[in-house]
């Protein structure tokens, strides 16, 4: 086909009548209301926390306060140390996230391709999934040392099994009639996988990405708790050991922000995909 396909003109949503205009206005108002309430909830929580701490209703030594967290953050930025810790944790998380997501998907592809292998490995995967990965902490440190590699391995272990199970389920749940359709076109196994199984599992892959964002942060922080000399997890452990709750809270808030940013990046991928 040489000519570029003609795209049908689809009109944008525009009000058709006064009732429709009202409906659209209500939708917009609802959206704005939800956003305002979300912001207000945050402001209220921060305000209440600050008020309770300032009036000594709660002891700032144990619960810190927003202003103390802000001061701590400013001092960490001024000393320049915070970026090193943020950078290390972020690097460990991204490496773990990428290896676990793509590694887990690759394993799922292998198991879909060879159903006998899947049946052989199934009980081991189930056991590995149920196992609390923190139990493997000492072994990981023994095998991989106490540096970044041990933390990344912990992150991968926590994320990879779930990725494999979810992606394998997605591959196996493909409509049997669609597979038959491709077989009736004389498609080989690779073509069935490439043209149908893989694109059919894209939505599930996006869900896995979203879950893995959370899981990889859990893995990294857990790894840093076990053994680290830098990173936000290290700061949290260090802060709690020297009773510096402001440091613990600042690191936790930073973790929240970073996790939210990573989640938003995945949402952006989803948005681009669904266009």
């Amino acid at each position: 086909m040489k000519k570029k396909p003609v795209k049908p003109k689809i009109s944008r949503v525009a009000p058709y009548s006064s009732a429709h205009k009202k409906y659209l206005q209500k939708q917009r108002n609802d959206k704005i209301f939800v956003l305002i309430m979300q912001i207000m909830l945050l402001v209220l929580a921060i305000g209440l926390w600050e008020l309770l701490a300032v009036t000594n209703v709660v002891d700032p030594f144990f619960v810190s306060s927003p202003s103390r967290i802000f001061k701590m953050f400013v001092s960490l930025v001024a000393s320049g140390t915070i970026w090193k810790h943020v950078g290390i944790t972020l690097l460990e998380t991204i490496i773990g996230f990428l290896i676990a997501t793509f590694g887990g998907t690759l394993i799922a592809i292998l198991l879909w391709w060879n159903q006998k292998l899947r049946r052989i490995l199934e009980p081991y995967i189930v056991v590995l999934n149920s196992l609390p990965k923190i139990a493997l902490g000492p072994i990981i440190i023994l095998w991989f040392g106490s540096g970044m590699s041990a933390i990344v391995v912990m992150c991968i272990l926590i994320t990879i099994v779930l990725t494999t199970i979810s992606m394998l389920n997605a591959f196996n749940s493909c409509d049997a009639d669609k597979i038959q359709l491709l077989k009736s076109m004389h498609a080989n196994k690779f073509q069935i996988f490439w043209k149908l199984i893989l694109p059919n599992a894209t939505d599930e892959f996006i869900s896995v990405l979203k879950i893995n964002v959370g899981m990889s942060w859990v893995g990294t922080i857990m790894g840093e708790y076990l053994s680290s000399s830098a990173g936000l997890g290290f700061l949290i452990v260090y802060g709690s050991q020297i009773f510096k709750i402001d440091l613990v809270m600042t690191s936790t808030v930073l973790l929240c922000l970073l996790a939210a940013l990573m989640y938003m990046a995945v949402c952006l991928i989803e948005k681009i995909h669904s266009r």
């Binding site: 086909m1 396909p5 003609v6 795209k7 049908p8 689809i10 409509d175 009639d177 669609k178 038959q180 359709l181 491709l182 077989k183 009736s184 076109m185 004389h186 498609a187 073509q191 043209k195 149908l196 694109p199 059919n200 894209t202």
Partner: protein, 257 residues
Amino acid sequence: MSKLLSFKDVNFFYQTKAEEIQALKDLSFDIDYQEFASIVGPSGCGKTTILSLIAGLLEKSSGEILLDGKPIQKNDSRIGYMFQRDQLFEWRTIWQNVTLSIEISKPKNADQKKELAKELLKKYDLYDFISSKPRALSGGMRQRVALIRTLVMEPSLLLLDEPFSALDFQTRLNVCDDVYGIIKNEKKTAILVTHDISEALSMSNKVIVLSSRPASVKHVQILNLNGETPLSRREAPNFGELFDLIWKTLTNEKETC
């Protein structure tokens, strides 16, 4: 008319953990060139199995299946299969859906087949939608796309496995007319598997009634209904009479099973 497809004493057994099930027993029938034949039978009697055997998706246990007088081959490109529901791939555009079989089989005359796809899309009012995703199309349009996807490889024999079963009654009547019109225009031979007697009567020249499992041919009814389209054939004077005949043959079958 000469025979395009022949089933001669075909037997087929399914293997399950518990037992061996005979799905087809000494099944014999012929389909002529440019004939539109329907296969009706009790639920689960093996109608789809017959189509799967023709398409090479299953292998017969014994007997002969001949296409153009020669034993049917596993990857025979002369056969096009249209499944229950349209089975369009939602992530692909209409053009990508229609040319899917070209992408897969990579024929030498791929450009020619793409031209044919373009012509068919234009002829059946779908060309404006080639860049759209299937979700933008109505049920009837989706079925037309599915049929064009099958026709692109220029099969001699079309297998239609209850292709209208997912549609509501009114859409179904219109789509029947559309699909019938396309098949007749393109001078194709077709086998329709359906559980709907009136659909079978309105679309075919021949109705093959099967027995319950293991399926064998119980009755073959040659039809000569007046009317250009399936919808108009439903109004033919002897439509009701033929319906009763097929219905009684099927009901007797159900009573005996």
